[in-house]
């Protein structure tokens, strides 16, 4: 809850000069602004870091005060006379350094001779200490990414603040007392054995080298690698859009640090910070590959990505591109454009997404183009477009810092959007009421006012009960409803029967709790709703989202500070790829393909006649491939063989294709079925823009070149287009971006040059001088009536309800360390070491009942298939529910998932399948 900015100034004397600063400014900050560099160790001049004033390296003298004051912490007041450089102050500061240095390894033996500690020691001519040292603690190398060398620790507790107050991961503490004060992880455990989530915020904060990335240290724990340069870019993983710096030595990324981006405020998670070496994995594709004539495509034939030449032969770029393009043109000629399809990628840039949809529409002549948004938020987008006329978030996630009440439903942001989660936790710690709705327990529960662990699949029942309370108890925002919404009467009559008492048996939440949440949210001055795949990946996913939209509209929680609807986007550019038209029913900016005016505009621009019919969606394309109506697919950066539901079916469909071109950085499970594989560039190897979950368009920059003969994706797409007879002349991503700006009003005000200078601009943005709009729809909605609609939803069961044969509910999702299908993260050494083995998560009661021991192999079956993997006891799961991460190729969850689709969003019900679990007989090792 932000205070109104204090405008009063104070005037005081600093080193003999009169200075004026805003009320509340510390002496240290005023000094900094006056170019006086006061040493500081325990203070980090960064967002979210409270001054603690404990190291005493920044002492200054204030007239009239008995003792010296810590300038980092002391707020300047009117008339104060401060001296930063008296003998008394400088002597005290130097003595502090000497005391600290006494217990350190000597600089020449130190872990990081360039640390802030040694920098300021040198500034004060302290290179050794006259004081006796004390016994150094043992090093702790238990964590795969972080070296813990507490002999360099000065107990400044910056890592504690980083862990507990900034990222709120709550692992680090300062235990003991006096000279025995020491940093602990949990109960004094080794870092690698603790609950540490590896975000590395502590490493970034540590001023001494006590916490360092292992990648830059040698075996003696000394700094061995100093980067040549830092390249400012964006994280390639989830939709949070953290800005970061790639630290590059030669042609290798050696470390990553967080950058002060608008979304992340220098924070990163374990993936962004330590998951970068996938680009150096030996399995990288470095030359074009063409399928060997003697290897048939088969869903059952094993394929090892380490040895792709069992299935493929190397080819020149020219041969591969010609083969790729001619395969498509042959099919088009023989079977028509509708026999072709293309999958773009939410992991690529906006420019690449634009080119893929353009290639499919202009070159293939069909709207059969889609990407994995279909598998994440298609239903959310359907509901948002239907009811508020826009598929993106109405407010950035950090608006939650201004919320009084926050609902997180069907999302596990500490795992899937870890940095966004840190702001939600900050908000909760700042006093906002946080309500977490999820069948599973999760890390956010600790900060929640209440957690509603409802019956899986009963979302609509729970939400309708909340809507019922707000309407029946007259708690809704009548003025807002009257002036900004429509559909209230229908919602009122639909929810008349959905009282908490009526819904409780269905959703499993006591009526009192439902009422409490409803009343608190309705009473909040500003409320925000976050949701994720738990809402969208259901056959009733669109209905779920409709309920959430109704809840926001009913309580007037759209279009103002601290309020809004925020579907957390799962991939670094899923927002941008959708905006760029990588969806079968829309041209860029969600302009309908069946709208004649729109289509004519594109036909003129692209000089081609375009398909007027909506294309097929991801799962529909797979089905059509299986049925033989689609014969050729171009896959750029997607992995449907892992990400599509009912994988046996999906892989069989891929095997049946006449022509499959896969453009990727690894020989993925999908590439196994390819005719042509085109080696592409990873995100740190390219220039381009990506759009995060907040609608921020951000600039990614090339840090290292692609390996071998791998090429830029935009170049590859362009070369295919040329071979399909299209006159594309792009020379650089900026040319593509310029073309996008012609057709996309959302990019008004956002030029390439501006992004080059500012790194991030939020859309919509009125002009090149304005800031983008963080919060949308304060007044009108982009709907025909200008009002937001409340669409009622029926309570319906999931598609496949558990029964005697398949008694368990199986849900799927990601792990913190493994992103999406694991093609990148499982090839990132740190992430793979942290989560190396496929495990099914099982509740404690179910483990006991079935006599399953932790780590034991078990078989998970559904009507679609079976997988074998190890058992993990998960205290967050309720009895009767299991969870399978979908990143493990050796035990792919999507072998089991249900392809039943939501009728509106066409998203499969990945969050709910009926399953059963059997322990695998333990084979006697002595055998």
């Amino acid at each position: 809850m932000a205070q109104a900015p204090e405008t009063k100034n104070v005037t005081f004397t600093l080193d003999g000069k009169q200075v004026t600063a805003p009320h509340g400014t510390t002496i240290w900050h005023v000094a900094r602004d006056a170019d006086i560099d006061i040493p500081h160790l325990c203070y980090k001049d960064a967002d979210g870091y409270r001054a603690d004033g404990n190291c005493r390296a920044c002492m200054v003298e204030i007239d009239g005060e008995r003792v010296l004051a810590a300038s980092c912490q002391r707020v300047a007041t009117d008339g104060m006379i401060v001296h930063s450089a008296t003998e008394r102050a400088t002597k005290a500061r130097a003595m502090v350094m000497e005391l600290l240095v006494a217990d350190q390894p000597r600089r020449t033996d130190s872990h990081d001779p360039s640390s802030q500690l040694w920098h300021y020691a040198e500034e004060q001519q302290v290179d050794h200490s006259r004081f006796p040292g004390k016994k150094a603690p043992h090093p702790d190398s238990s964590h795969p990414a972080i070296a813990v060398n507490m002999d360099a620790c000065i107990q400044c507790n910056l890592c504690v603040r980083a862990c507990r107050e900034v990222q709120v991961n709550d692992v680090i503490g300062l235990a003991g007392r006096g000279a025995d004060a020491h940093i602990i992880f949990d109960f004094g455990d080794d870092m690698g054995a603790s609950t540490c989530v590896g975000c590395g915020e502590c490493v970034q904060a540590c001023p001494t080298g006590a916490l360092m990335p292992k990648t830059v240290l040698d075996d003696s724990q000394k700094l061995a690698i100093t980067p040549d340069k830092q390249v400012a870019s964006v994280c390639p993983y989830c939709g949070v859009g953290c800005q970061l710096n790639f630290h590059v030595k030669g042609e290798k990324i050696v470390a990553v640090t967080g950058r002060e981006g608008p979304a992340n405020k220098s924070r990163l998670c374990v993936k962004g910070r330590y998951g970068f070496d996938y680009i150096d994995n030996p399995q990288r594709l470095t030359v074009p590959l063409i399928r060997r004539d003697d290897v048939p495509k088969s869903a059952s034939l094993p394929f090892d990505p380490a040895t792709p030449l069992t299935h493929f032969r190397e080819a020149s770029w020219d041969e591969a591109l010609t083969r790729a393009a001619s395969g498509f043109s042959d099919i088009k000629q023989a079977h028509g454009a509708s026999a072709l399809a293309g999958f773009g990628s939410a992991k690529g840039t906006n420019e690449e997404a634009y080119l893929v949809q353009k290639l499919v529409r202009q070159g293939f002549g069909t709207n059969n183009v889609d990407h994995c948004t279909r598998l994440c938020h298609a239903s959310s987008v359907a509901a948002l477009l239907e009811n508020i006329g826009s598929g993106a978030v109405t407010a950035s996630f950090s608006q939650c810092l201004h919320s009084d009440a926050i609902i997180v439903i069907g999302a596990n942001p500490t795992v899937n959007h870890p940095v966004a989660a840190t702001f939600i936790k900050n908000a909760a710690q700042g006093g906002a009421d946080l309500f977490v709705f999820d069948p599973r327990g999760q890390a956010l529960d600790r900060y929640a006012t209440d957690s509603l662990n409802f019956t899986p699949g009963a979302d609509v029942a729970l939400l309708n009960a909340i809507l019922h309370v707000i309407i029946s108890e007259d708690l809704y925002d009548k003025e807002y409803v009257a002036t900004h919404t429509e559909g209230f009467d229908a919602l009122k009559s639909q929810t008349k029967a959905t009282s908490p008492e009526a819904m409780a048996p269905i959703c499993g939440i006591e009526p009192d709790k439902i009422r409490k949440v409803a009343r608190t949210f309705a009473a909040a001055k500003a409320g925000m709703i976050f949701w994720g795949m738990g809402v969208s990946q259901h056959t009733h996913g669109t209905d779920n989202a409709r309920c959430l939209i109704s809840l926001a509209l009913l309580t007037g929680n759209v279009g103002k500070q601290g309020a809004g609807l925020h579907p957390l986007r799962g991939q670094n550019n899923v927002q941008g790829a959708s905006d760029a038209g990588l969806i079968p029913m829309f041209f860029p900016d969600y302009k309908s393909v069946s709208d004649d005016d729109v289509r004519t505009k594109y036909e003129n621009l692209w000089e081609a006649s375009l398909d007027a019919e909506k294309g097929l969606t991801v799962v529909e394309i797979t089905d059509a491939a299986y049925d033989g109506t689609i014969k050729g697919i171009y896959v750029m950066g997607e992995n449907p063989a892992m990400s599509d539901p009912d994988q046996n079916h999906a892989r069989a469909a891929l095997a049946r294709l006449d022509h499959l071109v896969v453009q990727d950085i690894f020989p993925t499970e999908t590439a196994a079925f390819a005719d042509v594989i085109l080696p592409a560039s990873a995100f740190p190897e390219k220039d381009g823009t990506v759009t995060n979950t907040d609608r921020r368009v951000q600039r990614g920059r090339l840090a290292v070149p692609p390996p071998g003969d791998a090429r830029q994706d935009w170049w590859i797409i362009t070369e295919i287009a040329k071979r399909l007879g299209l006159a594309w002349t792009y020379k650089h991503p900026r040319d593509i971006f310029a073309e996008m700006r012609i057709v996309m009003p959302s990019l008004t005000g956002i030029t390439w040059d501006r992004l080059e200078a500012e790194d991030a601009v939020t859309y919509p943005c009125a002009d090149e001088l304005s800031d983008g709009a963080d919060i949308l729809f304060g007044d009108v909605f982009p709907t025909p009536s200008g009002r937001g609609r409340m669409t009622p939803a029926d309570v319906l069961p999931p598609d496949e309800v558990p029964d005697e044969t398949f008694p368990l509910v199986m849900s799927t999702g990601r792990l913190l360390e493994h992103w999406h299908t694991g093609s990148m993260t499982r090839r990132a050494s740190v992430l793979d070491e942290l989560e190396p083995v496929a495990e099914v998560h099982i509740s404690r009661p179910d483990m006991t009942e079935k006599g399953i021991r932790a780590g034991q192999m078990v078989k998970v079956e559904t009507r679609r298939g079976e997988i074998e993997l190890a058992a993990r006891m998960d205290p967050n799961l309720p009895a009767g529910m299991i969870f399978v991460p979908f990143c493990f190729t050796e035990a792919p969850a999507n072998m089991l998932t249900n392809p039943a689709l939501d009728p509106f969003g066409k998203i499969p019900e990945l969050k709910f399948s009926a399953a059963r679990l059997t322990p695998t007989p333990v084979i006697d090792a002595a055998e």
Binding site: G53, N54, R56, V67, L68, R74, M95, L99, F131, P132, Q155, R164, D170, V171, G173, L174, R177, G178, A179, A181, I184, F185, D186, F187, G188, D190, G192, S194, T195, R446, N453, P456, A458, P505, I506, G508, V795, L796, P797, V801, P802, L808, S829, P836, E839, R844, T848, I852, R853, G855, Q856, A870, A871, R872, M873, P875, P878, A879, G880, M881
Partner: protein
């Protein structure tokens, strides 16, 4: 509405909790592989898991749900009392119940001496703990030697292995030095004989004779409170204003050691917007001080009436009594008397909550005490803001020492002049000096302010037999050390004493003799500070440790110690660090001959 009853398997949470699924449940996995090495399945989430049985045990033990964050230390006491230690499993259960990070629970528990933390695989401590005071007054009477003796008897098997002997900082019983405590129950004049007897027969947990509620009431106690409670709003305001001016006219000052004028403090706190809170500092821990123990164990209601008067005069809604864990008999009697007081209806809307310290001298520092009442580590806060403006739970807070409150009723009933007339010339008011060390009869001397050590020695029956007066501590461990020739300095706040770089603090006078080496005495005091430093700021955390290290060397580097003393005094966050070097400076100034190397030179 088709879903109802469709899958009853989903009826969550109605199954009873099973036995542990795997034996290592709850313990972190062993040594993990180095980077690049594949490992087997983990089978569980990261880190230590909460064991449902341990969690349930703690929930049952604590009873009250939801648990309060500020009560963390009380919960730790309950678990420690029940099991004799705090196991990792129980603490993980507690953290989970309180929705706290494990690290937060561990750092709080590990801050206080009276908690024994036991990790998985670690042996629990012996069931019984006997603490032997090794602070200055007790050291002089053989406390350290006794400790060593008892420990060696134990290791020789002469004492049950289920008893352990540990050193303890000042137990507030310097008049009966050397002091020991069985659990927390005091054993005065400790020696091997009475400790052996205690081990076999136990310590009687007697509550001393004291003036209870009925007797106190009978002697017109709480009469002022009754009048205030009965007054109309206007009359109440008028009464309060009169009482306030009496208190302001009285020379009553903070007798915990800071000496801040009490009337002024009450006015300042009353000037801030409510709700206003109060904390009574009963964490008497300054070595040599045992006056609050006496007042609380003889006439507790006089202090409590001070609290009630504050509630009327300052507008206090809730008061916390923070009593050190070393005074269990006082905690017991206060528990009893508070119940009577509450039942009497005299409290009005005032709430009083009793809190137990847990073995940390620093919690006698008012802002550290406030942190501790909030259930945290006792880290002193930075000033400004002062606790009067932002104290407990960020509310304006009145903090008073036990003895300060003890005098309030009498001052308000008898008038400011009565109180002011008690002192010596230029030193108004009463003082209670705790006198210990080499005097014939150590004990409390209640007299007018401004007494000299010469007067106090005389009041205590002169020097102990065979001892010649050599020097004295005018104000506990932190007030410095003065030589015998400065025996005529009035012992009061400020004045001559301050000019000598010393202070009277809590009025704990420790008398030393020709049998005492002042460097050793100063080293003992620095060891005390090193042990009790909260560890927050460098000058104190590192400074006290380095000072001890240098002082115990064969030839102490006095020049470096001097530089160190300066920065500790100048750059520490709180009074502990700022004053910790006083005995060191005094020893170097007044007793250079006692410094090992210096002695050999002369």
């Amino acid at each position: 509405m088709v879903m109802q009853g469709l899958y009853d398997i989903m009826a969550l949470g109605n199954k009873s909790m099973p036995e542990s699924v795997f034996p290592e449940d709850g313990t972190p996995p062993p040594e993990q592989g180095r980077q690049g090495k594949k490992r087997g399945p983990k089978g569980k989430p990261k880190g230590r898991m909460v064991i449902p049985e341990a969690r349930a045990t703690i929930a049952a033990l604590l009873g009250t749900i939801p648990l309060r964050r500020d009560q963390l230390i009380e919960y730790l006491h309950i678990i420690q009392d029940e099991y004799g230690h705090l196991s990792a499993a129980h603490l993980a259960g507690l953290a989970d119940l309180m929705k706290l990070p494990m690290a937060e629970v561990w750092e709080v528990a590990s801050f206080y001496d009276h908690f024994d933390l036991v990790s998985e695989g670690m042996e629990a401590p012996p069931a019984r703990t006997i603490r032997i005071c090794t602070s200055l007054s007790c050291m002089m009477q053989g406390g350290e030697a006794l400790l060593q003796k008892m420990q060696s008897m134990r290791s020789e098997g002469k004492i049950d292995a289920d008893v352990r002997f540990v050193p303890a900082p000042c137990l507030g019983a310097c008049d009966v030095a050397p002091a020991a405590a069985d659990g927390h129950h005091l054993v005065g004049y400790a020696n091997t004989d009475n400790l052996m007897r205690v081990i076999t027969t136990g310590t009687p947990h007697d509550i001393p004779d004291y003036i209870g509620f009925t007797a106190y009431r009978a002697a017109a106690g709480y009469a002022l409170i009754e009048a205030l409670n009965a007054a109309t709003d206007d009359a109440h305001a008028e009464m309060v204003s009169g009482l306030m001016s009496t208190l302001s006219d009285a020379a009553l000052r903070g007798l915990g050691g800071a000496g801040f004028p009490t009337g002024r403090k009450w006015s300042i706190v009353a000037g801030y917007d409510g709700p206003r809170l109060m904390a009574v500092n009963g964490d008497e821990g300054e070595p040599g001080t045992f006056k609050d123990r006496y007042y609380l164990s003889s006439d507790p209601h006089r202090m409590l009436e001070g609290v009630l008067l504050a509630s009327h005069m300052v507008g206090i809604t809730k008061c916390y009594l923070y009593i050190r864990d070393e005074y269990p008999e006082i905690i017991a009697l206060l528990t009893k008397e508070l119940a009577l007081l509450e039942a009497s209806g005299l409290l009005g809307s005032l709430e009083i909550e009793l809190r137990r310290g847990a073995g940390a001298y620093i919690c006698g520092e008012e802002s550290a005490m406030i942190e501790s009442i909030e259930g945290k580590r006792g880290l002193p806060r930075h000033r400004p803001p002062y606790v009067a403006e932002r104290g407990l739970f960020d509310r304006p807070t009145l903090v008073n020492n036990v003895e300060t409150l003890f005098w309030v009723r009498d001052i308000l009933e008898r008038g400011a002049d009565w109180y002011n007339d008690q002192g010596r010339e230029g030193h108004p008011g009463f003082r209670t000096y705790s006198v210990s060390g080499r005097v014939a009869q150590p004990g409390l001397v209640t007299t007018g302010a401004g007494a000299t050590v010469a007067e106090l020695i005389e009041a205590c029956g002169g020097m102990a037999d065979g001892h010649e007066f050599k020097g004295y501590l005018p104000g506990g461990a932190s007030g410095g050390i003065l030589p015998a020739h400065l025996a005529d300095v009035p012992l009061d706040f400020g004045g001559k004493l301050a000019e000598l770089g010393c202070f009277v603090g809590s009025h704990a006078i420790v008398v030393l003799s020709d049998k005492d080496n002042m460097w050793k005495a100063a080293t003992n005091l620095l060891q005390f500070f090193a042990h009790e430093s909260c560890g927050q700021c460098t000058p104190c955390r590192s400074g006290t440790e380095k000072a001890v290290s240098l002082m115990t060397s064969d030839a102490p580097d006095t020049a470096l110690l001097g530089e160190l003393a300066d920065i500790m005094a100048d750059a520490s966050i709180c009074g502990l660090g700022q004053a910790a070097s006083n005995p060191l400076i005094s020893a170097m100034t007044h007793f250079p001959g006692d410094i090992p190397d210096a002695a050999s030179e002369t």
